[in-house]
Amino acid sequence: MSQPATPSGTTSGPPLVEVRNVSKYFGSVVSLKDISMSVHAGEVMCLLGDNGAGKSTLIKIFAGVHPPSEGTMLVEGREVKFGSPRDALDAGIATVYQDLAMIPLMSVSRNFFLGSEPTKGFGPFRRFDMARADRTTRDELAKMGIHIRDTSQPVGTLSGGERQSVAIARAVHFGAKVLILDEPTAALGVKEAGVVLRYIAQARGRGLGVIFITHNVHHAYPVGDRFTLLNRGRSYGTFRKDEVSREEVVSMMAGGEELEQLGHELAEMAHQDREAGKEMADTGRQFAEEARAVRDEGDRG
């Protein structure tokens, strides 16, 4: 069950991006130790772990923010060393950070094209083609089923889910092959989280490899194809969805402590998961039921 050898089952060929035996030290602190992980095209790889497990450090290695202290990184089978986030972007790896996805005071279309603005004109008259930016932003968002009221409104006026969705649409538009999403559903309401999960499924449908970081199994399990579990900087391994049940994932993450109280809730949800493979059309209903299950649990306890 240790990972690099495990084929994803959905694709052949080398993974889009892969780390082998990567470690990261900050001074005397061991942040990550001997982690291996990969993601293929058309696959959602969920990176699970509790707070402090090293998830953020690992994605910063993928995103070119930190170089690994040990180990190698491969993009489509070739070894790479990223010196900056720009290198990772150029290699087709786009990262959407939880808090730093968007700049609140800037308009939706200015955010969408920040760093890759379309221009028209030549020489000193080369200028930002705002009309095209607005049009493209609107079209790209519509393609993902997001209907922003007005692309010139500040991003700060959007809801958290809308912001994440715009960031995902942006990454897809700019030709990302690998999409890394850092806790995109944290701090979102049930319905909004469902919307974001639907976009994740859509990105997979368009052939992207998605690395979905979360500490919420209930968000990860319905969309995930494979799961990598981190705990205190080490990996418990990577599991295909057919190898592991939601309960087992939870028990590995929670370390068995809260299992008793989670048990009832999980039984309720387990039967829904078998159908989860056929995309996320019914995510909304699932979440509604989960919410009820939690409430029932609360009533009983």
């Binding site: 986030p85 950070y97 730093l100 700049i103 800037m106 890759s116 221009t119 930002f128 010139s152």
Partner: protein, 376 residues
């Protein structure tokens, strides 16, 4: 920012933009009127403030000369010199940084030019270029220290403010034994320089010799420099990639870096821009007065920040406008000259200025809150 563009496009454009699935407009929004998009601009508060202050002085000082062309020319001249600085400072502050060193760059670059031309006999324009080189290097060093160390620019440029002021006073006294220098008008190339930096345009109402009472005003070319720079800065800010990067660098440097914006380069260029503006003001002053003084420009760094903040730019960066800085500088000029016309002792000017700053910050907070929350 983007606010004006999209909403000011004709409907045809909007329809063409979203042809296929889904409604082009969201049913939750009744209609975003052009008026609303104007009202959400950062400079709107300062624009109303400018009008209000003009009306106020027109009433209390109208018959003592405020409304005449001569009076108008005096407050525009004051506004222009501050405005050149404020426009550049606005870009820098939108980019999330401060520059307190510009006051001493004005004194130093003016004195460098005068020293080279008067004491060492350089051609004036060569001396001016040397002074420009000095200013740009200072701007670069300010920027490099800020982006390298991550120290607040407030502190870094406060340090360079004192270093440069002290160094130019010391150097000038060593060379000349004094702290000011005249006779710039006797140097080679002064006539051309005067045309570029210090021409005055006499404008008169006596166009056809018809009016009995002739009203004349002498308008300096610095007003054109001010408005030209403001137009250029506005174009850069709203219509170029670099402008978008300025907003990004100020709004959230880390987020901007994550999408590939060269934040450090943007900030260094902005520090060089404020240094350039300080040099330009120094040129205008030295040529106009035909002399340099090491203490020129004292306090200008704060006045520039005040004008920018009155103009609606956020102290924390990421939001603001160059047009707002124009209004801010205009308000500064009108108040400074207006209280003289109104017969109030000029000592009271600073009280006005401080109160205005406070009011502007409060109004801007209110306006901005309305702009971002009302569309939620």
């Amino acid at each position: 920012m983007g606010a004006v563009t999209a909403e000011m496009l004709p409907m045809a454009q909007v329809n063409a933009a979203a042809p296929a699935p889904g409604p082009a407009r969201d049913e939750r929004v009744l209609r975003t009127s052009p008026l609303r998009s104007v009202l959400t601009r950062p400079e709107i508060g300062a624009a109303f403030g400018t009008v209000a202050i003009w009306i106020y002085f027109a009433i209390v000082a109208g018959d003592s000369g405020f409304l005449r062309l001569g009076g108008t020319a005096t407050y525009l001249e004051v506004g222009a010199e501050l405005g050149i600085l404020a426009v550049a400072v606005a870009l820098l502050m939108i980019g999330g940084e401060f520059d307190l060193s510009i006051g001493s760059i004005i004194g130093a670059s003016g004195m460098i030019m005068a020293l080279l031309a008067v004491e060492y006999g350089w051609t004036l324009w060569l001396a001016a270029l040397a002074a420009l080189g000095f200013a740009l290097v200072v701007g670069f060093i300010n920027g490099a220290i800020v982006v390298r160390t991550g120290l607040p620019s407030f502190i870094v440029t406060l340090a360079t403010l004192f270093i440069i002021r002290g160094a130019i006073i010391g150097t000038t006294r060593l060379i000349t034994g004094r702290t000011n220098l005249g006779d710039v008008d006797e140097t080679v190339g002064y006539d051309i320089a005067r045309r570029i930096f210090a021409t005055r345009f006499e404008i008169s109402t006596d166009f056809f010799g018809m009016r009995s009472e002739v009203d004349t005003g002498s308008f300096p070319i610095s007003i054109l420099w001010w408005l030209g720079l403001a137009a250029l800065a506005t174009w850069v800010l709203l219509r170029t990639r670099f402008g978008n990067w300025i907003f990004g660098a100020g709004g959230s440097p880390q987020a901007a870096r994550n999408v590939g914006v060269p934040v450090n380069r943007v900030k260094i260029i902005l520090f060089m821009t404020t240094a350039f503006a300080a040099w330009l003001v120094a040129m205008i002053q030295v040529i106009t007065f035909s002399g340099a003084d090491v203490l020129r420009g004292q306090g200008q760094e704060f006045y520039a920040i005040i004008a920018v903040v009155i103009g609606g730019t956020l102290l924390t960066g990421g939001y603001g406008s160059a047009i707002g800085a124009v209004f801010g500088a205009l308000i500064f000029g009108m108040v400074r000259q207006g209280i003289v016309f109104a017969g109030v002792d000029a000592d009271w000017f600073q009280v006005f200025l401080g109160a205005m700053l406070l009011i502007a910050v409060l109004i801007n907070r209110f306006v901005r809150g309305r702009a971002t929350e009302s569309r939620r």
